[in-house]
Amino acid sequence: METLAVLVVFLPLLGAILSSVLDHRSSQAVTCGLMALAAIFASILFVKVGLQEKTLLIPLFTWIHVEFFEVSWGLQVDSLSLVMMAVLTLISFLVHVYSVGYMKGDRSIPRFMAYLSLFTFFMLTLVTAPNFLQMFFGWEGVGLCSYLLIGYWYDRESANAAAMKAFLVNRVGDIGFVLGVLTIFVLFGTVDFLSVFELVEDYKDETFTFFGGHYHALTLATLFFFVGAMGKSAQIGLHTWLPDAMEAPTPVSALIHAATMVTAGVFLVVRISPLLEYAPLAREFITLIGAVTALMAATIACVQNDIKRIIAYSTCSQLGYMFMAAGLSGYSASMLHLTTHAFFKALLFLSAGSVIHAMSDEYNIQKMGGIWKYVPLTYVLMWIGSLALAGIPFFSGFYSKDMILEVDWVSNLPVGKVAFVFGISAAVLTAFYAWRLLLLTFQGAPRADEAVMSHIHESPLIMLIPLMVLGAGSLFSGYVLYDLFVGESTSFWGTALFVLPENEVIGAAHHVETWVKWSPILATLVGIGLAYYLYVFAKSWPERLSIAFSTVYTFLLRKWCFDEIYDWIFVRPSLKLAKVLWKEGDQKMIDGLGPNGVAALSVAGGRLLCRFQTGYVYHYAFAMIIGLVLMIGCYFWL
């Protein structure tokens, strides 16, 4: 089993390395083959280790050893990381296969496959890390791959800008993560998960003192980590990079920006559950941020026209749901939603990719419409994805989203009820934008021009098969995993999750009032109905509404003006400052006085010395005599 675990993590790395030296056919074959192996091994591990409720701790080698401080490289395979590993390798494999079809004709396929595999390796390192530092390695690694893949089409200026934006915004979060690790180290003297989690009860009342104020150490640490999670998982404030990241090729959006990397933040929060349990303030903050993000992103998604951006905001919103649950101690509900979301969101993205592929690289849903009969399979799969996203009963999203909303309702934290209201409102909007997307894309009269319409075709089988697998996942994963993850008598999580008895919510969530159980479904139906009304029966209404409420509409269309505000507060002043430092500081001061100044001085000195070289022999003789006299003088003086 140990060998299997090591193989799962390192096979993708092998694929990435091999791919970088192979041509495009063999690189596709090698990376897909190795990912398939990794996925199979991960499933075996899930059954043999996860379902047996065992935990593997595999030390590989010592990474850092400085006096008392020792960090080992290793793998911690418990139920939490196993869920991630299984989902990750499966979806990564499907995306690898899908990419073979989608990226056909691209110039640098081996590079693309190598990045995808490398990403998978880093993500696996992240989820199997037994300590904060190795986790940070994976954390930075996935950030790097995300950057590389967003900027994959490096000849597009917008792709480069988006890649840089993603990197810079994530940097803010990463600082949070680093501060979190440092806080942990200062507090516990170690960064190993197991040691820290064992010690946590003894340190629950520790405080730090800064500038006269006392701060609860664990709250501080968990908040720092949460800042990191906000960056990676695109929560309000640090979410602005995610929509722009849609510049990446669509398979990347599906794998990294929907199913896996963005959920790393959720995973982190769940991983540190033993710390969070003693930091109620941090949990309230997390819940609030999650709730606000869920609603905000949903509102924006309702008015966007770019098919991938709509799904991106939807991702943002769904991540908000996961944080809501995690903040209220419903870690397992959060993990359930993470898993189902991975399936249906990857499905939606890849289907959208299929649509884009069919429509000759058209992204604007206002220019689509009426294409369902040309791409029937994609249409059906998109329906499945949307039904799962909206939470229609018996589709996967239904189980997880209901669970989250029930957790919100029963939580003993006051912020729970707020989260419930936000969640229900967001559910209405979710259904609305999902059906708006469906209706505008597939139904009604075609709005694309003749040339595009004549080219519409169903995607090749190599793209459709992964879609069907994901479709099956979106259909059944909720039903299959519900009892295992959040069932009343489940012991699946073992020690991987920790919930204080007084914070226990999952059990209570099964026994809520009936109206609470029904309200999400009702909300969804309202959203779907609204979408049908506006885009099928009263087609002139959307435009009239947008004119009548033009302020609100513009505000939403501009994505709550986050980009504009950041531009005004951060980007412009720092550009201005950088310009001053560059022109005045570096060019004039440092270069001027430093290298260039010294160089100019040297040349001037050279010129001066050459002036003594007059060419007259008596000057030369004079110099010699003077030299002699000086030497004699030197003797008397010294």
């Binding site: 040297s602 010395l609 060419g615 022999v617 110099a623 030299g627 002699l628 030497m631 004699i632 010294l638």
Partner: protein, 496 residues
């Protein structure tokens, strides 16, 4: 020791061979009166063979680890002198080897050139072998007079005549310094023999040395500072380097510098060692000024030989830094530096000599090298190696030469000087690298000037020497032992 009347002549066998060869060439030349280039070239080969035979004789008759004195204590040979003579003989031979083709092209090759080179070499051998102020003077003058004439060899050219005259006048002044210093020394000690003087000075109590002794020290130092062109006695160097025909410049730049530096080292470490505290600050200043001037004054030079003249001034400054240290380590560093400097400078001049413009011109200016890397990749690469090495870039020989010097200076406690030297070498790197940059990155001129290095004339002899120099520079860091061993033995002469 030889017999009662006849001194041990094997000591001067190399000198004897050279003198005989020189006179043979002179006599034949005078009576043949031929201007046929073939005949002239044969003279060159005779001179070259003379030098090589002399080198063979030197090596064959050397007594290792022994102080071999002859001619009533006038001349000696120990490991230090032996190293010096090897450097001088092989250096002269190499210079003749790289010069012949170029001399022929410029119609300068004559029996006089060959004879004068040999006589100058004899002078240098006598200089380094001297154990007495009188024999030293004799060697010095044989060498100097030959060089004055060599510089004036192109007598129809004003710049050459001017250079020769300047060299002669200033050289005479330096000789005056020397004679004044030596006579003061005789007045003080009653002897001209180095060993005797050393003993007498040692008997004086420290801090109570008479004035005449100092005057003598300073005058002699000044005269040799002229020979090694240390600042402020360097003024002749750029003019003479530039004015002389390039093959003669190569000769002046190579062996006389070696001879003068070796004598300077011997004088400072043997007769004047007791006065170390007195002379070290003076040498330190000479070293400092030379390093700095060599670095800065060369920055704006456009003439290649002038640039190399300042480069030589700077390099001499670094060697003086090793002399200042005065330790065994310092002496070794100076000797290593000297050896590698000889190799690098001969290699550099070999590159310059084989590059020729159209007609009878050799390369003159830095621009004459613009873009030659595409025309002559091998020669450019070799020249680049020598430039990098002179600039002191690892892992080439020149870097280790500087490294040993700085190490010696640091362990002797001369931190300021070592730092100044390192900074000066940074500045100096500019002009060495500039040559590389011009060769590799500048475009060849549309209309090449007469001296633009279009043609490469590289006979086998020259190619061998050039390659040997390049290999030594390149591979010193891999196989430093042959040089290190002989240098250690030479340095042991003083400490042991």
């Amino acid at each position: 020791m030889g017999g009662a009347y006849l001194p041990d002549l094997t000591l001067v066998l190399p000198e004897g061979i050279l003198v005989v060869t020189a006179f043979l060439i002179l006599m034949t030349g005078v009576f043949r009166k031929s201007t046929n280039p073939q005949v002239q070239q044969r003279f060159g080969h005779v001179a070259l063979s003379g030098l090589i035979v002399a080198l063979g004789a030197l090596i064959f008759y050397h007594h290792p680890a022994e102080r071999w004195i002859s001619f009533e204590g006038q001349l000696l040979q120990d490991d230090f002198v032996y190293l010096g003579k090897i450097l001088i003989l092989s250096g002269s031979a190499a210079v003749v080897g790289i010069s012949l083709a170029s001399m022929l092209k410029e119609h300068l090759l004559s029996f006089e050139y060959c004879a004068l080179i040999l006589l100058a070499t004899v002078g240098m051998l006598l200089m380094v072998g001297a154990n007495d102020f009188l024999s030293l003077f004799m060697g010095l003058e044989i060498q100097s007079l030959s060089l004055y004439v060599l510089v004036a060899l192109k007598r129809d050219q004003t710049i050459a005549s001017e250079a020769a005259l300047k060299y002669f006048v200033l050289g005479a002044l330096a000789t005056c310094f020397y004679l004044y210093g030596a006579s003061l020394m005789y007045g003080f000690s009653g002897s001209t023999n180095f060993e005797a003087i050393a003993t007498i000075i040692r008997m004086e109590s420290a801090g109570n040395f008479p004035l005449s002794l100092f005057m003598s020290l300073i005058f002699i130092m000044a005269s040799f500072s002229f020979k090694i062109s240390a600042v402020p006695f360097h003024m002749w160097t750029p003019d003479v380097y530039q004015g002389s025909p390039t093959p003669i410049t190569a000769f002046i730049a190579a062996t006389p510098k070696i001879a003068a530096m070796l004598v300077f080292l011997r004088l400072m470490l043997e007769p004047f060692m007791t006065l170390y505290d007195e002379w070290q600050s003076l040498v330190a200043f000479l070293s400092l000024f030379s390093m700095v001037l060599g670095a800065f004054a060369a920055l704006r030079q456009t003439d290649l030989k002038r640039l190399l003249a300042y480069s030589a001034i700077g390099q001499m400054g670094y060697m003086l830094l090793g002399v200042v240290a005065g330790t065994d380590e310092g002496i070794q560093a100076v000797l290593i530096y000297l050896t590698l400097y000889l190799v690098m400078i001969i290699g550099t001049f070999a590159c310059l000599l084989c590059l020729r413009g159209k007609g009878s011109y050799g390369v003159q200016n830095i621009e004459d090298l613009a873009g030659i890397s595409t025309l002559h990749p091998k020669v450019s690469f070799a020249l680049a190696i020598f430039m990098f090495s002179l600039a002191g870039i690892p892992p080439l020989g020149g870097f280790f030469a500087k490294l040993y010097i700085f190490k010696a200076a640091l362990s002797a406690g001369f931190f300021g000087l070592a730092i100044a030297g390192a900074l000066a070498s940074v500045v100096a790197a500019y002009y060495y690298l500039k040559i590389v940059k011009v060769m590799y990155f500048d475009d060849a001129p549309k209309v090449p000037s007469a001296s633009y290095g279009q043609i490469v004339v590289l006979p086998l002899k020259m190619a061998l020497i050039l390659n040997a120099c390049a290999l030594v520079t390149l591979l010193f860091f891999v196989f430093p032992n042959p040089i290190l061993e002989i240098v250690q033995r030479a340095a042991f002469t003083f400490s042991g």
